[in-house]
Each structure stands twice: as C-alpha cells, then as structure tokens.
Amino acid sequence: MPDLAKKIDGKKFMWDKSYYSTDEEAHEKMAQYRKDGFEAECLEEIGNYLVYTRRLVTVIVLEDGDQIL
C-alpha cells in the first residue's frame, strides 16, 4: 500500500487512492484535477503511477458551522 501522504518540495500531497498503469493515464487524471484548482504530482512506484493532489483551504468552516478566517 503506498503512502497516503507524501512531502513534495516541502508540501504535503495526498494520494487519490488509484493505481494508474501508464504515465499518460496518470497525467490525464492530473489534468482533470488541475482544472478543479488542485496541485497535482505524479510518482512512479513499483510499476504503478500514483497521483497525489492538494489544494489549500482558505475559508474554513467547522462542523458546527463556525468559520475560521
């Protein structure tokens, strides 16, 4: 099982929990994620391509509805 979180250039990225068999497939997925405003990175691990993403949340809403700026 790959690491759920990876540090890439000092930033925390999270695995999308899918294995991609080719680099092209992974990059296609990354392009989709980037359209949604996520940063995306691809890593190769034991014959698989893994995609990691992240997006900083600037307005935080807690479960009870309170907002943190």
Partner: protein
Amino acid sequence: MKGSVLVVGAGPTGMRASSELVNQGFKVILVEEKPTIGGKMAQIDKMFPTNECSTCTILPKMLELTSNPNVTIFSFANVESIEGEPGDFKVKVIKKPRYVEPARCTACTDCFGVCPVGDIPMEFNLGRGTCKAISFYSPFPPRKALINPDKCTYLIEGKCGDKEIPPCVEACKPEAIVFDQKSQAVEFNVGAVILATGMKEVKSGLLKEYGYSKFPNVLTGLEYERLLSGLGPTEGVVKRDDGREPKSFCWYVFDNCSSVGFMTAVAQSLGTIERKPDATITVLHGNYALQRESYKDFYLKAKESNINFVQTNSITSVKETGRNLEICFNNKMITVEMFILIPPLSPTESGRRLAEKIGLELDGLGFIGKKSGYSHLVRTSRKGIFVCGSALAPKGIDHAVIQACSAASGAVSLLVTERGKEIVAPPQKDLLPVRPQDEPAILVVICQCGKNIAGLLDMEELVEYTKSLPNVKDVEITPFGCDGVKIRELLKTKDFNRLVLGACSPKTHEDLFSLHAEMGGLNRYLMEIVNLRNQCTWVHSKDKKKAMDKAKTLMRMGVKRVRLLESLEEIHVSVTPACLVIGAEPDGISCALKLAEANLDVYLVEKCNRLDRIEKNDSPFVKDMIEELSRDKRVKVYTGSEVGRAEGFVGNFRAEIVTPEGKENVKIGSIVVATKTKMSTDSDEGDFEKDLLLQRDENGFFIGMLGILNPLDFNTEGVFRCGSAREEMGTLDAIVDGEAAASRVAGIISQKELVKSPAISFVVDEYCDGCAYCIDPCPSNAITLIEYMTADGGIKKTVEVNEAVCRGCGVCMATCPKRGIFVRHFKPEYFEEMIKAVVGV
C-alpha cells in the same frame, strides 16, 4: 588573529557572554576564581523582580557550558596577566591546587565519609552548615572534590590516621587524591577579553555597629539567602543559630546602597512572607528612586503582602536582649528575632586586582570606571578588553545579562574574520539502529544525586524492584548521573536499546542526559527520565515510605513508556543570514551596525526620517553611528517607511516593507523591534505585531518572554526587542541594548542551519477527516487545512503541519476528537501505558 575569547568570571554575566560567543562560532576560555561556577546567582534563592528560582534558572545554563566542547573552564583559578594587542592577547592563568585531580574524581563522595576532620564551616554557605576537610565546594558544577589545606590533617601534619596511607586516599578508588599538587601556571592566547568579575558585599567595620559578628542572628543579605535556599544549610527553612524558626524580622538597607540593595531586601522579605505568612517584617531603608516599572511593581507586591517599609536615615542602636534583638530608629524601637543587613556592594578583590594589573581605570568605589564624557558602557580603555555586569556597578541580573551580550557582540566585531576557526564540530553520532519491532532491552540507571536521592530512598530496594519490571535488562546506581560516566560506559556495550534514568528534573537535565545517551550510542528519544529527586525525595522528604512508594510508581511508569518509544531524527532548517531591524533610534542603529560588523545583512526601517538629520541634542556616539551607517554597505536603510505583514519562523521570516515608493518583500532569519513607536500600518498593509504574536503592556512597551535571563527575547522564537521597545532608558543603555540584541540575532543567523526537535505534531491521515478543530487553537499558527481528490471524484480534507513552526505543545492533540494528530514522542498510547502502570492494570 585568534578566534577565541577569554571570559573572566563565571557568574550569570560571564556565563552568558560565553554562551553568546560559542553560539556565534568562537571558542571560550572561562576562568572562575571559585571552585564551582554560577557566581552569586548560585547562592541566592529567588531573583527580583521576577521572583524566579535562581537555582532552577542557572543550573541548565551551567550544564550547557560544562558539556560544551568549545568552552574550556578553569575553575579555582585566577588570571595572572594579560599582555599583547587586540586579536592576540597572551594570557597567564594560575590554577590553585585542589589536591584532587578533577579528571579522575568521579564525585562518589567515598572520601568524605572517612575524613576525620569535620565541622568545618562551609565557605559557599558563608559559614553556615559544615563540611569535611575534603568536600565539594558547592552543589554546582564542576562537581569535583577538593581538600581544604588549612584543615586537612595530612597536609598540616604529614600523617592522618593510624596507617601510612591517609583514609581518604585509601577510600578513593580512582586514585584522584594528589597531596603534592602545586599551583599550576597555564598560558594561552586569545583574540579578546571579557571581564565579568562581579561584586561582593562590603563587610567593613561599619556592619559591627549594627551587631554583625557580635550577635549571631544579625546576618548579611547574602548569608540570609543561604538560609532561604533549598540547597542551603537549613534546606530552605529559615532558622536562628539556636535552631528556632524566627517569626519577626527586620531588614536594614544601607543608605549608600543602590536600588539593587533595596530590591534585594524586597525579594528576601517576600520570600520570607511566602514561607511564613504570619511573620512580622519591617524593612528599613533610605530614599531610592525606583525607575524601572518592574521594580516598582515588585515593591508594590511586597507592600501588599503586609511587609512594613519604613524610611529612615540611620539606626541608632542594636541590642540583644535574651533571644531577641532591639533595634532603635526614628525615635522608635522594634524587637525582632532576626536582623538582616543589606550592605553596599564593591567589586571583588580579584576583579579589582586584575583591572589594576592590566591598566584599567577604577572609579571611586573601585569598580572599573570611565574617564569622562560619553563613553561606551562595556568597552574599556584597552581595545579588545570589555567589561560587563556588576564589575562595572551593582545591577540586576537582567541588566547584567544584556551587558554580557553587548560585550560578546563587541568581541565578535573584532574577531569576525576568525569565526569558526578554533571551534570543534560536535562529534559524529554513531547511534545504534533501533526498529519499533525490536524487543526492548532496557538499561535503568538510578542516580544517587549525592544525598538528594540516596539520603531518603533505599537504593537497594529500588534497584531490586526496578529489576522486576518487564524488559529491564540491568539496573545500576551512579553517584551523579549528570557526569554521564556510567551512562555512556554501559550504553557503549550495545546491550541496551532503551534507557531509563531515575534522577532529577528533565526541565534542568534533559539536554545533558540526552547528550550522554547519544555519546553512548543511543538515540536520545529512546530515553526516559524519572524525576526521583524533585517528585519523590524533595516533596516527600519527611515521609520515607511515601517517597519510596511514589518512586516505584514513577519507575514503573517510566519503564512502561520507554518500551514504546521510537528513534526520531532531528529536523534541520536552513537559515537566511539577514535581519530586519524595526526602528532607527540609537538602539536600532547600534544593533544594525553590530550585525553588519559581524558580516550579516540588515534591513533597517524607520518611520520618521530621523536618519536624514542629526539632531542637535544627539550624543557624539549617536552622530558617529549615523555617519557610519551611511557608509555601511551591509545595512539597507528604509526611511519614512513602515512594516506590513510578516510571516515565517526562526531562521526564515518574510516581511513586507511599505516605503513611500511602494512595497518591498524581504527574506530574513530574524527580526528586532527597536522602537515603541507603532511601526506597522493599520489598513490593508498588514500588521507584523499581530502576525508575530507580539504584545504590548498598558504603557505601550513590548512584553518579552518570561525569565530574567531572556530580557530581549519575545515568545516568538527569532524575534527580539531592545531599547525603547522594552522600557524607558538613556542613550548609552539603549546602545548597549541594541548591541546585545545583535548578539542574540547573530547567534541564530550566523549559523547555516538550525536543528529542531522532532517532537512536533504528526498527522495520522487515516484518522484525520479535516474537521479543522485543531487549527484555531494552535498557538504557533502551524496548522493549515488542505483538500485532496480521490479518483472517484470525491474531495477529502486533512491538515498539514508546518514542521519548522510547530513547537510540539500538544494543543492540537488535545483538541482532536478523532486521534488524527499527535505529538511525536508523546503518542496517546504512551500515556495510556503510563496510566495503566499507575492503576495497576
């Protein structure tokens, strides 16, 4: 040019100067005339105006220096001569004979028990309490025995006891006693010299008029401190010579004392009323102008504690009647059981002699003086020789520490080209690889701490009990764990992968013990300290059974926890070698110039265009500094500017400078606030004060970190305050303050990288669902919320910890409802195991 500095005097001032220099890459030779370091601060109980415990504050600093390979300490030694020029002084030091070879003495104390000569008044306790002819000078480092040549039978008569070999020699297994030891001269060269030779109480005939040395319960202030001290002859219980605990006290502060004398009486009377709330206390004093707000507050606190302050010019008589003392003043008489005199202070004899020998001018009281006019406070008439602390004049410890930093800064400016050339790098760590799945093999070392622990706890019983605990492979006893000898020796066998130390407080000793563990080859995070001294033998000193029961429980908890601990690696953070100085008053200017002289870049921001004109009333010093600033290429000056947003962490800050021409972003490793003036913009430009969590008091001054040894530090690491940012002060003091802040900054940004503890927050992504409850409570603003995609198109959340900013306080761990975040080295399961150990599950 030499890259080392001689520091004379190892009180708080000399120790601080040494520590500043070593942090900036310079070797230090520290010479102390007494057999142990710490100076007067080691003898006092609590310090004004913070009421902090003196021992708890200074002991970690002592251990930091004694374990630093770049500090050579010559204790029980005097500087005989200093010749030569700045950059290359030739120094001669005379080491006095101890009759014990320090390198071989293990501080086992076996010799004390067999020495037939006892009842010798202890010098460190100023004649109170007794010791043997061979003893420790004080409870402080370097903890090595020494022989009193005026009392030792063998040294006086050539024979001691029935046998040919004296009993102490027979008892000393490491063969450390050397009766033919002589004074030894040591010569070396240094680039600069810092004199921190301190002061002493004047015990002239004047005191006799008030019954001193005539009536046994008339003491000086320093003698009384030894009665208040938990490490003193009465273990902190104030007692008269007849053993009774007095209930009525009087202090008399001599009229020619400075405010230091008065504050000493305030601190001692407060310490007394804290112990005895029903005590009757009168403080007789002259007229003192308390200029510092903190002093005024401390005095008010004492007044509110029912301490009676009475102003008087003189005492007319002191008489002993029965058990009491009758004191007459202002046509009144009071009767007390103890009378404490706070005499004037003068420089130490050795300090005065040295100053005269090397040609420094002395003032009328014998302190190292200044010729006339405007002179820099810590420079002397000999270039390359600096003076600081009470060697200049009596002062509070915080003020002395600032001067120490300023003196260090002066020495660094002189020797900057030699930075790092004489220091040795810390030895490479050769640590035993320990995996979480490895079976724990625990070594337990129990420290006797002299009589502190062994005096109350039955060591054998505790050893047998601890041996019965799971995974404990060996249990050993050591006289003093802080010397590290036994710890290192046992760990080097590689038979153990965990260490439990039954010793003293981690607050004071954790760094030192960690160092010993690593020198023995064990990762420091595989060690657990059980505080047998403070938490068992001290707090239960009158109940042996309770102390032992608690010791067993704590040992059980320690062993349970250490079984789960994991090896951790330290975090290395790079450093930006530049500083932002906010405010260009004399303090800010002197800070900027000193940093530039240390080859570090500075951004100096001023709001009022003061630098464009030299004020008529500016001192020649300030005028010179402003001219120097205009020529200095390393200082970039922003006039008419403010500071906007600031963010980051020690070693790596970013700040926005708002100039009339626009905004400029700068990267810096440290920040100094050197003005009380509001320098941040109020509107959209941001507010560095808020960003850096800086706070002001009701008078608008910035509030610093708690602690008398850190007067320039903010709670936000890497950010400092000086001069008018912290209190009202004159120009010369402000200059010294600025230079001292420069030293604090250079200690950080002159390093290529900072080493940070890995005991910081760690996110368990499997459990964290991004509820964000941990974000707002984090006092370091170290946690941010991030989203991520899953392949099925879902968006999930988790948190991210900025490792450089996180301090591992654990607030996030306490807030998290899902066990999604914990502090490394403090996992919840460790606590669970410890609790199980207490309740016996």
